[in-house]
Symmetry: C2
Subunit: 692 residues, 2 copies
């Protein structure tokens, strides 16, 4: 009864508070708007300081609108979660609120033209990054913002107000996308991701490229048709079509994944979708930049030329591998630093270091001319796989929570901005024919990605990707933040403007319709929900040898890497894994002793006592450690049964460790070393948190 009262109370109060927030939002918009026109006659000696202050106040007000939007989204989404409405995700909601505010800004408020912002009749022969202007003896510094389309110059003056709420597109790549992508990488540490690695890589790389070209070709057909009918108002080249194909190939099924998480949908399906979406963002980003880099020599810059294409291909490989290397490198450095210093005694320092190193990846990649967002993704994966194990339990929580929060804020910000920009963007080009063509192409491109690849993958997989899984993956090809960010980055030409407008519609449609229909689609496709990954685990024990051979089959590529990782990388970079003295050949003894942390030896002994109850459910622990004779001689060096053992680290070991990592219990050794760890919060299931 008490609970009932609370809910009603809450419900009533929420409604009041909502009204309050809504009213305050509109008041805030009006107040801020009203403050922007300046009363003073402009052409006199204008006080620069006052103007800068005014501009700052305006900026604060604009940002405040977004903050209020996000607050509203949070409150609404709480209500939805409270009442278990699943048809609308927070991102979809953020878009709706963005749309509403966009309508208000566009049609509701009339701001008189700011007459002080006139075009200077200043004829200079260059456009330097910094400009010093001499106004009657005083020098003013101006910074270059960018080139403006000649026919948009009139708009600039008319719609100063709308342009104010338009962010520099680079904000997305430099501030909002990095935490989103890092978080995705940082939460990739899942057993089923690694078990399905081959398929995920195939979908992400091959699939995205296929999808890009299919969409590009279809759109080119569409554009040619439009030209015939006379519907095209500007240039639209084949590279533009390919570019469009690349940007709409980045899937972002955040809505679907949230529901999967909540309903505990089959873990393999989850891993396939999540892994694919994380990696294909990176692929689409690099792909689009290498398409932009395609510049054949000669007069006509839009002909086919082998050299230019090879050049583009080289750019793709170079940027991708460069970003990959940088991301992994900073991840490895962080792992080493956290392993060899006892920074974990001071959680604040540890968390700060982790945050700074992850951020520096982005900056380093950008400074080197690579792609920061891609580097950050691989940095995130490396941090999750290695560094995470070295962190103190509290820092593990802190970093997870920090990036979760940043991801949440950035994501909702992008989606509400998306809604807003449908009305506030100045140069929309909505072409019905292009839009219909694009929807068709996006659909077919996704189909050309999923079905043929699944067929090919199923030839090699024993644990087949069933047809209902394929349909679900087809259906879950939502477009989101990355597609939007890529399409808004450059809206200078007619083709890009048309692409941007169409992309917005594609995102809206997929997020609302496909996202909203996820539960229906799940039940329609008879995909089992409520799968506990633990239960799944214990079932596998019953299935026994049959299942093991399945895995051996499907993950053959991964097994080689796994052995290397388990025997060398993990021991070098973390406190877990077998001691290096046991896995490296005897000649590397001193190095191995230097790199092996004392915990590794402890882990070895420990496996046989206190942790064994956690992992002994497979019943074959002896298989892993039973055949190693570990003896400590006088010098403290460990000798093992020989290097042949490395290959013998069996697949069960892999499976167990991954399952283990899944439950975030890897830091077994660390608990012994720190006497103050007793006061730390105990292990809490990370799934609970991701689910929120």
């Amino acid at each position: 009864m008490v609970f009932k009262v609370t809910v009603n109370n809450a419900w009533r109060a929420t409604r009041t508070l909502w009204l309050l927030v809504l009213v305050s939002l509109s008041v805030c918009i009006c107040v801020c708007r009203a403050s922007s026109p300046q009363e003073d006659s402009a052409m006199e000696n204008i006080d620069t300081e006052k103007k800068a202050e005014e501009s700052h106040r305006q900026d604060s007000a604009d940002l405040l609108i977004f903050i209020m939007l996000l607050t509203l989204t949070i409150l609404t989404i709480w209500l939805f979660k409270h009442r278990r409405f699943r048809f609308l995700h927070e991102t979809g909601l953020a878009m709706i609120y963005g749309l509403l505010v966009g309508v208000v800004l566009r049609y509701g408020i009339h701001v008189p033209r700011d007459i002080s912002n006139v075009t200077m009749s200043c004829h200079v022969n260059a456009s330097p990054a910094t400009l010093l202007i001499n106004v009657s003896g005083k020098f003013y510094e101006y910074t270059l913002k960018g080139e403006i389309n000649a026919n948009a110059v009139g708009d600039v003056q008319d719609n100063e107000m709308l342009r104010k709420v338009t962010f520099d597109p680079e904000v997305f790549f430099n501030i909002l996308l990095p935490p989103i992508i890092f978080h995705a990488g940082y939460s990739l540490k899942r057993r089923h991701f690694f078990l399905n690695m081959g398929s995920i890589l195939a979908y992400a790389f091959l699939g995205t490229v296929v999808s890009c070209f299919v969409i590009g070709l279809l759109m080119y057909g569409c554009v040619v048709l439009m030209k015939q009918v006379g519907q095209l108002g500007g240039d639209f080249f084949f590279t533009d079509c390919l570019f469009f194909g690349a940007i709409v190939s980045a899937t972002d099924p955040v809505t679907v994944l949230a529901i999967f998480n909540e309903l505990q949908v089959d873990v393999d399906l989850y891993a396939l979708l999540f892994g694919e979406s994380v990696l294909n963002d990176a692929v689409a980003l690099v792909l689009s930049s290498s398409i932009v880099a395609y510049q054949p020599e000669g007069n006509n810059s839009h002909t086919f030329e082998v050299m230019a294409m090879l050049n583009s291909f080289g750019v793709f490989l170079g940027v991708f591998s460069g970003s990959f290397a940088l991301g992994v490198a900073t991840g490895v450095v962080t792992a080493l630093v956290t392993k060899f210093t006892k920074l974990r005694d001071f959680q604040l320092l540890e968390t700060a270091l982790f945050f700074l190193m992850s951020w520096s990846t982005f900056l380093l990649a950008e400074a080197c001319g690579s792609t920061g967002v891609v580097a950050v993704l691989f940095c995130g994966i490396t941090q999750a796989h290695y560094t995470y194990n070295n962190l103190s339990p509290e820092s593990q929580d802190r970093t997870k929570q920090l990036f979760e929060l940043l991801n949440f804020l950035a994501e909702n910000f992008i989606f509400s901005y998306m809604g807003l920009t449908l009305f506030t963007f100045q140069s929309h080009v909505f072409n019905p024919m292009f839009i219909v063509g694009a929807f068709l192409a996006v659909f077919l491109g996704r189909a050309a990605n999923i079905y043929p690849l699944s067929f090919l993958l199923n030839l090699g997989r024993r644990n087949k990707i069933r047809s209902n899984f394929q349909h679900m993956m087809m259906f879950a090809g939502l477009r989101g933040a990355m597609t939007f960010a890529l399409s808004i980055r450059d809206t200078a030409t007619y083709a890009r403007q048309m692409m941007f407008s169409t992309t917005l519609l594609v995102v809206f449609f997929t997020v609302w319709i496909c996202g909203g229909g996820t539960t229906q689609m799940l039940s329609c496709q008879h995909i089992r929900v409520g799968v506990d990954s633990d239960q799944d685990n214990s079932m596998s024990v019953v299935e026994g040898s049959e299942r093991r051979s399945t895995k051996q089959e499907s993950a053959w590529l991964f097994r080689i890497w796994y052995n290397f990782d388990h025997n060398y990388l993990k021991p070098i970079l973390t406190h877990s894994g077998p001691p290096l003295t046991a896995t490296l050949p005897p000649c590397c003894g001193p190095l191995a002793r230097f790199l092996t942390s004392p915990q590794a030896y402890e882990n070895e002994c420990q496996l046989k006592d206190d942790d064994s109850d956690l992992i002994l459910n497979d019943g074959d622990i002896s298989l892993t450690y039973g055949d190693i004779t570990v003896s400590t001689d006088a010098t403290g060096a460990h000798t093992s049964g020989g290097p042949g053992f490395a290959g013998a680290a069996s697949f069960d070991d892999l499976d167990r460790e991954l399952a283990y990592g899944d439950h975030e219990l890897v830091m077994r050794g660390t608990r012994l070393v720190l006497p103050m760890d007793d006061s730390e919060p105990p292990f809490t299931d990370p799934h609970n948190r991701l689910q929120m």
Copy 2:
């Protein structure tokens, strides 16, 4: 033995890693610098896009330098903490590293002049915020950055490189200071802060104003003397002197407080110092802006005029009260939202809401023309006092940790930037006479703040501020982030440049010398360390009635507020406190029932059972609740022993509740409502965390 090995191992490895970081830092600086000169002949048709990209890369590289600096600081400070070196705080260290990098940037790297950045011979008669430049048919958009001193125009072109690492001073006020100040406010929730509230307010308001005027007058004397000797190279008015007085009156004893925390120095001294430093930042900020607002009419704008002074005083009151009201208002709204919604079931949403609302305070204040930093301070205090109690335990941890991290990063960033700017700032004016005068004035100003005020306060306090406490407070008047941010905000005139250079030296000196000598000073003044606040508490029980009368005496101002807060505000805004139905007069029954949360009734009963062991150590629980007859009639309304009870909420109650809040156990009611709370981390002592 194992531990020994680890330490040595760690030590060795750290040294290697350090070298690595240092080398990578310098390589990074060199690489970034090397990439900046452009090879192409400039005066041709320059590709804007390429230039923007180049500029972006440059920005990334510059930011990377700072990130690397912070990383280095973290690693070093870990080592210091590990070895228990207390003579150098992380902020002092950050300054040293900043200095080193500043030297390298200034003298180590020679960058050829960027010839493309020339002054345009463009004579226009206005300086609009946005400028459109027509370069041979193409339009480029420029945004106004600010006015440049006419004689600094040459420098602009020469030292483009140094100017690149110079941030816009508004970055400090809009990005770095808000989290620092909010964190200070958010961690103010301490029993001893409230018990010493009167003294703290006196030091912060009266003391800062006294210090400002004393320093201002002394500096004016110094300036007049300098003019006589012919040492002054430009104008320096009395308002400039007062401005200098205001900015160096903001104390920031972060170094001292960190040591106090570590050594567990007397809690009253800690509360006095911390409370004063938090509030006087706000006072100094508003004071300086009202001094800038002093503009008498007439020809000579630097004469004394009563109207202008009253106007300045009005600005002070207006801005301060406006910011206060805005800060408290958003805090109250957040408290209400978190109280009346069950947002605490979703910790991510709760934390995000908390973060956004706190941020919106800043933006709202800035948009309204108030001071965001001051608003954020009072918002932080309100959030700590009310909202914090409504949050779920996990969100309490999350928010604390989040703002702790932001505070740490922002603080160290500012201090390392301070070190850097000593060498990279272009227009330093170091005048030995002014510097000596300033040091003397700062010393005397602090003395004129502490000693007379302490004498006056001691007249009213029974728990006297002893002379060794006074000396310690005198000694702990370090200058820090706020002083720096205020002095770098405007460096256009000769006077401001001289102030800035001098301020830098004052900050360096106080942070290194006073900060480093804290432990020596503590032992020299015989101030007791290792005081456990719990122990202090139990001692008070022995002291008995004597102590109670002490408190009654010292906190008379506060007692009135406390009763109001405990009986009305706490029950309205949080789940704790007595039910409103018991404290409000019966005529407000329906409103009281609406506003009282069910937990309040539960708390009432609960007090008599499960939590009583926690608070019964004073032995007089009956004093609080014994004299209220709470009976529930048929309508569910609670009737109390009458409104006279409100005054009867005794002082012991106050003390107990504050002690209680100190141990962060206030959310007793919430634990019953949430069935999922079992999985939450248990209560951990917040002192542990603040101490790190």
